[in-house]
C-alpha cells in the first residue's frame, strides 16, 4: 500500500518557488470563497513519525489567511477526556462553516496506537474504523469537506532522519523517547496503519498518501490537494445551488394521515387517570426512590441523558420539574432547546447536543432535543427530505455512542389528544401567570397535527432501540403522566445501576 509513497519524489528549489507563488494566491482565493460557500473544511494530518507532518502544517499556515484556520492536536485521550464518549473531544473542536480545522492527531490516533501496542484486538480496530467511517460520513453529509493526509516514510528513511536529527544539536530535541519507541515499532505500526487506511478510504473521505522525505515535494502536494479539493467542492456547492433553485418546485409530500391507517400514537390509552390521593402517594414514593437512585448513580460515576418531546401543552415542563424535584441540583442540568445561537448554527446540527453530554455522575435533561430535526424541521420544511431522512441513522449513531460509553438514554413523548390540547391552550390564555406560555406559533403548530402524528410515528419506528427506547406517555391526565415518567425512569436506572 505504501509503495507509492516511497518513490523518491523531489521538487527543485526553483520549481518550488514558482509553484508556491501561484499556490498561495489560489489558496487565498478559495479561502475567501469558502466563507461565502459556508461549509467547514476538516483536514486530518496523520502518519509516520518524523515524516514532516508538523513542518508541512507550518507551511500551510504560512500560506493561508490564518484568521480562518485553526489547528487542533490530539494525543491518546487523557483521564479527563475519557470521562466522556470517545468522539466528544472531536465534536467539541469541529470548525464552524467557512473555516478550516487542521487536526493533528485525531480520531485515528487512539485506535491505531492501541492496536500497535496490542491493547486491542483486530476486531476492536475494525469496529473503531467503522465508527470513524460513520462519523466522517455524517460530517460529509452535513456539508463538511473532509481531507485526510497520510504522511509516509520508509523504515530506512525514518532511521536516516533520526540519525541526522540526533547529530544536529539544534534539532536533536525533536527526537524524544516517543519517536525512538515508535521507530522501534515501525513494522507493527505499518501493518496497523495499512489495515486502518484500507478500512477508511471511502468515497466521502479518501486518504491522500504523502511521501514525507522531501520538504518541498510534500508541502506542494498537500497545498495543491487542498486547493484542488476545495475548488471542486466550491463549484459543486455553486452548481447544487443553481440546480436547487431550478428544481425547487418539486416538493415531497408525505403520505396523508388517512392512508397510513393506525399510527403508533393511536395505541396510547389516554383515558388512564390517577386521583389526588394515589398521585400524592405514588409521587412521594417515586421521587424518593428516584432520589436514591441518583445518589447511587453519582457514587458509581455513571450518567444519564433524558430526552423530553411531546405536543405543545402536554406538560413537559411540569414533568421535568417533578423528575428533578427530588434530586440535588448539583447532579443535573436542564437544557431547554430553543433557537440555536450563531455558533451553534455554524456547526453540524448535532454539535450543540454534544456540548451538553453529561460527565460522570451527572444527568442531562433535554427539554426538546435533537429530534427537532425529524419533527419540527421536517414538518416545517426547515430541513429537506434528504436531511431529515438521513437524521434517523445519525441520531441512532449519536445515542449509541452515548449508551456504549455507559450513559443511560431514555426518551419520552408526552402525548395528549387534540381536544385536551385545545382545553389547555384556552386555560393558558385565561390564567395570568400561564399566558406567557401560549403564542401564535402554538396555534399554528396545532393546525399541522396530523403531519406531526406521522412524523412521530416514523421517529418511534426508526429510533426506538433497546438501549435508548421511546416511552409514549399518556398525559391527558397530568398526574398520570408524571407518575408514568418517574416510574419508567426508576426502572431504567435500577437496571442501569445493577
Amino acid at each position: 500500500m505504501f509503495e507509492t509513497a516511497e518513490l523518491g519524489q523531489t521538487v527543485g528549489k526553483e520549481e518550488y518557488e514558482r509553484e508556491v507563488e501561484t499556490l498561495r494566491l489560489r489558496l487565498l482565493d478559495v479561502q475567501t470563497r469558502l466563507k461565502e460557500a459556508n461549509f467547514p473544511v476538516i483536514v486530518l494530518i496523520s502518519g509516520v513519525e518524523l515524516a514532516g507532518k508538523s513542518e508541512t502544517v507550518q507551511k500551510l499556515l504560512e500560506w493561508l489567511d490564518p484568521r480562518f484556520v485553526e489547528t487542533h492536536g490530539f494525543r491518546r485521550a487523557t483521564a479527563a477526556e475519557r470521562a466522556f464518549p470517545p468522539f466528544h473531544r472531536f465534536w467539541r473542536r469541529l470548525p464552524a462553516r467557512g473555516r478550516i480545522g487542521v487536526f493533528f492527531g485525531n480520531w485515528y490516533t487512539e485506535p491505531l496506537v492501541a492496536r500497535a501496542y496490542k491493547e486491542i484486538s483486530d476486531a476492536d480496530l475494525v469496529a473503531a474504523m467503522t465508527q470513524v467511517n460513520t462519523f466522517e460520513r455524517e460530517l460529509a453529509a452535513g456539508g463538511a469537506l473532509v481531507l485526510k493526509f497520510w504522511f509516509h516514510l520508509s523504515k530506512k528513511a525514518q532511521k536516516k532522519r533520526i540519525g541526522k536529527l540526533l547529530k544536529d544539536p539544534d534539532e536533536s530535541y525533536r527526537v524524544s523517547d516517543f519517536e525512538r519507541e515508535y521507530s522501534k515499532r515501525y513494522d507493527a505500526f505499518l501493518k496497523v496503519s495499512e489495515r486502518a487506511l484500507s478500512l477508511t478510504t471511502t468515497a466521502e473521505a479518501p486518504w491522500v498518501l504523502v511521501e514525507g522525505d522531501d520538504k518541498r515535494y510534500r508541502s506542494l502536494l498537500v497545498g495543491r490537494t487542498l486547493v484542488e479539493r476545495l475548488e471542486k467542492a466550491l463549484s459543486a456547492v455553486a452548481s447544487k445551488r443553481s440546480s436547487a433553485k431550478a428544481s425547487a418546485v418539486v416538493v415531497e409530500t408525505p403520505p396523508a394521515r388517512e392512508t397510513l391507517g393506525r399510527l403508533v400514537l393511536d395505541g396510547v390509552d389516554l383515558s388512564q387517570r390517577l386521583d389526588d390521593d394515589e398521585y400524592e402517594r405514588e409521587l412521594d414514593e417515586l421521587e424518593s426512590r428516584f432520589g436514591r437512585l441518583c445518589r447511587k448513580l453519582e457514587r458509581q460515576g455513571k450518567s444519564a441523558v433524558l430526552a423530553f418531546e411531546g405536543w405543545d401543552a402536554a406538560g413537559k415542563g411540569g414533568v421535568i420539574r417533578r423528575v428533578v424535584g427530588a434530586i440535588d441540583p448539583r447532579l443535573y442540568s436542564v437544557i431547554p432547546v430553543a433557537a440555536p445561537s450563531d455558533e451553534e448554527k455554524a456547526h453540524h446540527y448535532l454539535w450543540r447536543f454534544w456540548r451538553h453530554v453529561p460527565g460522570p455522575g451527572r444527568i442531562s435533561l433535554f427539554d426538546r432535543t435533537w429530534y427537532g430535526r425529524v419533527l419540527v424541521e421536517r414538518v416545517e420544511g426547515f430541513a429537506n427530505r434528504d436531511e431529515w431522512s438521513r437524521a434517523y441513522a445519525e441520531i441512532n449513531d449519536f445515542e449509541r455512542q452515548l449508551t456504549e460509553h455507559g450513559i443511560a438514554v431514555e426518551k419520552f413523548w408526552l402525548h395528549v389528544d387534540r381536544d385536551e390540547q385545545e382545553r389547555r391552550f384556552r386555560e393558558r390564555e385565561n390564567t395570568a401567570w400561564k399566558r406567557f406560555k401560549i403564542t401564535e406559533e402554538d396555534w399554528r403548530n396545532r393546525s399541522k397535527w396530523s403531519e406531526y402524528e406521522v412524523a412521530v410515528h416514523d421517529m418511534v419506528e426508526k429510533t426506538s432501540t433497546v438501549e435508548a427506547p421511546w416511552n409514549l406517555v399518556p398525559c391527558n391526565d397530568k398526574k398520570f403522566g408524571r407518575v408514568f415518567v418517574l416510574r419508567a425512569l426508576c426502572r431504567r436506572l435500577e437496571r442501569h445501576l445493577g
Copy 2:
C-alpha cells in the same frame, strides 16, 4: 450574625397562596423586561445543609419562565477542574445577558469547606474572599445583578430536621454521609461562614439571610427579594439610559499626544537590525531552544499564555509563525481575536478569553487580546471611559489568576514607526498574495496613530507587571523582531521551568 435568621418566621397557607399568585406575575413580568434590558442575573444559593436550598430553587424554577433560567451546581473542584485556575469553571458557566443563572454551590463552596476542615489558614480564607469580592465587583461592573442568598438553620433545627427525615422512609435518602458529617461540624462551619459572610457583604453584592425552617416563608422571601432587586435594577438601567442620552454631549478627550511629552514607545530603539546570516543562525538556535523548553513544559504539566499586540503590519503573524515553528502542533493553539460571536457578545468581555485558557502542558497564543478593551475599544469609543479605565484592574486580576495558577504570561507589543508602516501597507497593496491583509480599516486606524500611542503608554504603565510583563519589540526590522521575541520567550520559560 445569624440570630436574625433564627426568629421562627412562618407564613400561613392562605397568605402564601395569595402572595404567590401576585409574585409569579411579577416574576414573569421582570423576566420579560430583563430580556430587553439585556443584563445577566447571577443568583447564589449557599448556606447550611438541609436548610431547604434545593426545595426553594425548585419553587423558583416553577415560578419563572424556565427557558431563560439555568441552574449550575458546583462542589469542591474535581481533578479535571483543578487543571485550570479556580475561577475558570465559574466563568465558563456565567449566564448570558437577559438570563438568570442559579449557582447552587459556587465560588464560596471550596474555600469554606477547606477552611472548616482546617486545610487552609484564616489568612488563606481572607485572600480567597478578597478574590471573590474582586470577581463579584467585576461582574457587577459588567452590568450583572448579583444576588446572594444564605440559608440558615440553627443547630437544633438542623438536628431536628435530620431526625425527621431519617424517620420518613421516603425522605431518609436525603441524609447521606455528607449531611451527617456536616452536621457534626456545625460549629466549625458556622464560624467559618460568619467570617466569610462578613468579608463579602459588599455594596455590589450583599448577602440576604434566609431562615430555612419554614418552607413557605423561605420561598416567599427568596422570590420577593429576587423580584424586588430585579425591578430596582431594571429601573436603574432605564433611567441610566435616558440620562446617558441626555448627557451624551460630554465626551472625555484624552490629553493630546504633545502635552504628554515622552511616551514609552519613544524609548524603543527601532534602528536595531540583523543581517541574514545572523538571523538564520540565531533563529535556528532559538527555535530549537524554544522547542526543547516546550517539551519540558509539557512534561512538567505547566502552561503558558502569550499575548501579541502591535501596530497593523508590524508583523504579528510572522512572529507567531516563527514562535510555533519549532513546536509540536499538539501543544499549542493560536487564537485569532476578531469580532466576537453572538454568544461572546452576550457575556462579559473577558469571558471569551477565559474560554481559551490553556490546560496543563499547553500554550495559548493570542493574536490580539483582551487589551482590545483599552486599545481599539478605547480609541474608537466602543467602550466608554468608565469601562476602559476599569479594565486595567480587571485585566491585572485576570492575568494574576493565571500566573497564580502557575501559567506563564508574557505580552508583546510589536512596534514600528509610521513610515515603516506606510511602506508595508504599500507593499501589501502591491503584492498579490498579501493584498488580503490590507483594508480600508487599516488606513483609518493609521490616522489615529497618536491616540493609539497614548493608549499603549497607559496600557504599559498600568498592566506591565513582574509576573506578566510587556515586551516592547522593535520591529522596523522584521528579523530583529522575531529573534527578540523568541529570545524573550526562551528566557521566560527557562525561569518558569527552573
